[in-house]
């Protein structure tokens, strides 16, 4: 009888082992990164488009724009990521005055920069007709026409001049602004690049 109990006990333990083994699984590096990463669109954008950063949106006050209505200028925010990181650590605002990040906002900004200041937005593929009036002009107005750029010191661009600069624009868009821009390297969002390249490929529709 005793023997039977002991044998049963051992058998149950052995049988129990595989169920425990399930707990020993690991996850891939990619899954870990996906779980632990700060989302630019969900976590950082709400901070950049309201509160202390409110002035940098919708382009009406002449400040560097972080967004215009529902379009987020990732490149404009990215180029200031080091600055934002410093401000999140208590550093000064480049203009006059102070900016107040809440502790929670500061930790999000710092974590996002530490993880490489990546954008988790995947732009939808460009489909259908891309036209100068409907697609290029809005990007030009918000991304290129700043007071110290093509709205001020640099020449204004229109349909004819953009068409004439096909080679330069292609180089710029293919390199996301690293080369081809006469005024020096700039940061171009993947969605902007895709739109310009599609416009050129479709034959510069007006």
């Amino acid at each position: 009888m005793k023997k039977t109990i002991l044998i049963t006990l051992v058998a149950v333990m052995i049988m129990a082992l595989p169920s425990c083994y399930k707990n020993y699984y690991d996850i891939s590096e990619a899954t870990l990164e996906s779980i632990n990463s700060v989302s630019f669109r969900n976590d950082v954008v709400p901070i950049m488009t309201s509160g202390a950063c409110g002035c940098h949106n919708n382009g009406l006050t002449g400040q560097i724009a972080f967004s215009h209505k529902d379009t987020i200028f990732y490149s404009a925010i990215l180029t200031r990521s080091t600055l934002l990181n410093n401000m999140a650590k208590g550093g000064p605002h480049p203009g006059e005055g102070s900016i107040y990040f809440t502790p929670s906002q500061a930790s999000i900004v710092k974590a996002w920069v530490a993880q490489g200041a990546k954008d988790d937005y995947v732009p939808p593929p460009v489909t259908g007709d891309v036209t100068y009036a409907l697609h290029i002009v809005p990007i030009y107005k918000t991304d290129c026409k700043g007071s110290s750029c093509h709205g001020g010191v640099a020449v204004a661009l229109d349909y004819t001049s953009l068409k004439a600069k096909e080679a330069e624009i292609k180089t710029m868009m293919n390199s996301l602004g690293a080369s081809g821009h006469k005024g020096g390297a700039i940061s171009i969002a993947p969605s902007t690049s895709a739109t310009f390249l599609a416009w050129i490929a479709q034959g510069f529709k007006p």
């Binding site: 082992l17 425990c20 899954t31 996906s34 709400p46 107040y100 930790s107 700043g146």
Partner: protein
């Protein structure tokens, strides 16, 4: 030692070994799994507005979409729907079902996120417990976790109230409007500071801002010495006393104390604290700050740069915040033009934030009814689109 005893000992050791092995293996995690970090690192920001349903406060019929493209405030239900309640999971056959307020509430202890299963499962780093399951590779964003935390913390209500609106609205104003060069106590571009007017007092520093778009020039000033912000506190006290008590007792800025007034380009008032904001609402800039004489005391002959009646204002807080409404002077009932410039122009507040301000404004008992509905509930705010007055 008998054979039987030896057998027994071996079996016991073996048994103990398996039990240990079971315990050790059950708690062991893989290298990557042990690095999972889903908890909120910082104590959640309790000023983030968190409602159960999306969008808030402004009726669809009264919305004029000229401040932004869309109205979008994601609530708890949407967050749970998109992360947990797909057809294959808790929106379908898998229990518990999480598609309605009542169903989601079963996983919540109102007031205590830490004791709530909903919050625990979405923030635990335990690879076996975490929801959504770790192997899906998706996790709620920090913003989403914070919203759920605050929704539970504030009582997990189906409909939000003043407790939800006020901290969020005040935080947007104090962190947003009072930042940088704008509505803070160190900025003395306003005429509120007796000794702070520009070019005269060495305690101030001025700078010029040229708008690159319009070319317009504004000159601002800031106090060099931050402790001088007590000037603002003293001014606030004097304004309150001036209107609440008697004109004769007003001994500070409200009446002219200098020969040639230095006109500042901007008369923006500080909005650093809740008290600053309430002061700005009850005594709007239009009645307390002007570059010309507004009122002469009938007996003393003192000339005041403020209006005698605190209600006869041509502008007010909500007019500057919300471009969907028209404001009229509570005394003269003369309507003004639409404004909203602090929302869509300088501040860039989204419609959902404007709606938040409005929800707080009309719910806050510290804002007197006369600044919500006018005298005798006549209405001072009407919707541009429908013409309907907001009344009690």
């Amino acid at each position: 030692m008998s054979i039987k005893k030896t057998q027994k000992t071996i079996l016991l050791i073996l048994g103990a070994f398996f039990v240990m092995l079971t315990i050790i293996r059950c708690t062991k995690e893989g290298v990557n799994a042990s690095k999972i970090a889903r908890a909120l690192v910082e104590k959640p920001d309790s000023t983030v507005f968190a409602s159960f349903y999306d969008s808030i406060a402004i009726a669809e019929a009264d919305v004029i979409p000229d401040v932004n493209d869309v109205i979008r405030t994601t609530g708890v239900l949407s967050i749970v729907n998109s992360n947990c309640a797909s057809a294959n999971c808790h929106g379908g056959a898998i229990a518990p079902k999480l598609t309605t307020y009542a169903e989601i509430k079963t996983l919540v202890v109102p007031g205590s996120p830490e004791q709530s299963k909903l919050f625990d499962l979405m923030t635990t780093s335990d690879v076996n417990k975490a929801m959504p399951p770790i192997n899906y590779g998706v996790d709620l964003s920090i913003t989403e976790k914070t919203k759920i935390y605050n929704w539970i913390k504030n009582g997990a209500k189906e409909t939000p109230g003043l407790d939800d609106f006020r901290p969020a609205a005040i935080s947007l104003l104090t962190n947003g409007c009072a930042s940088a060069n704008c509505h803070n106590q160190a900025t003395v571009g306003g005429q509120w500071a007796r000794s702070g007017f520009m070019g005269v007092n060495p305690d101030t520093v001025s700078y010029t801002y040229i708008n690159p778009g319009s070319g317009s020039i504004n000159i601002y000033a800031q106090l060099r010495e931050p402790s001088l912000t007590q000037v603002w506190t003293a001014y606030k006290d004097s304004v309150k006393k001036f209107f609440a008590d008697t004109l004769a007792n007003a001994n500070f800025r409200p009446y002219k104390t200098f020969g040639t007034p230095v006109v500042a380009s901007s008369r923006r008032g500080p909005l650093n604290t809740y008290d600053d904001i309430i002061m700005d609402i009850i005594y709007p800039k239009s009645i307390r700050s002007n570059s010309s004489v507004q009122y002469t005391h009938p007996t003393s002959g003192q000339k005041f740069y403020v209006k005698g009646n605190p209600l006869t204002s041509t502008d007010c807080f909500m007019r500057r915040m919300d471009s969907t409404i028209i404001y009229r002077n509570p005394i003269t009932l003369v309507a003004t033009t639409k404004n909203g410039s602090m929302a869509w122009d300088d501040g860039g507040f989204s419609p959902s934030e404007v709606a938040l301000f409005k929800a707080w404004y009309f719910a806050d008992p510290n804002i007197p009814d006369v600044w919500k509905y006018g005298l005798n509930n006549q209405g001072i705010f009407s919707y541009r689109k429908t013409g309907n007055f907001i009344t009690k």
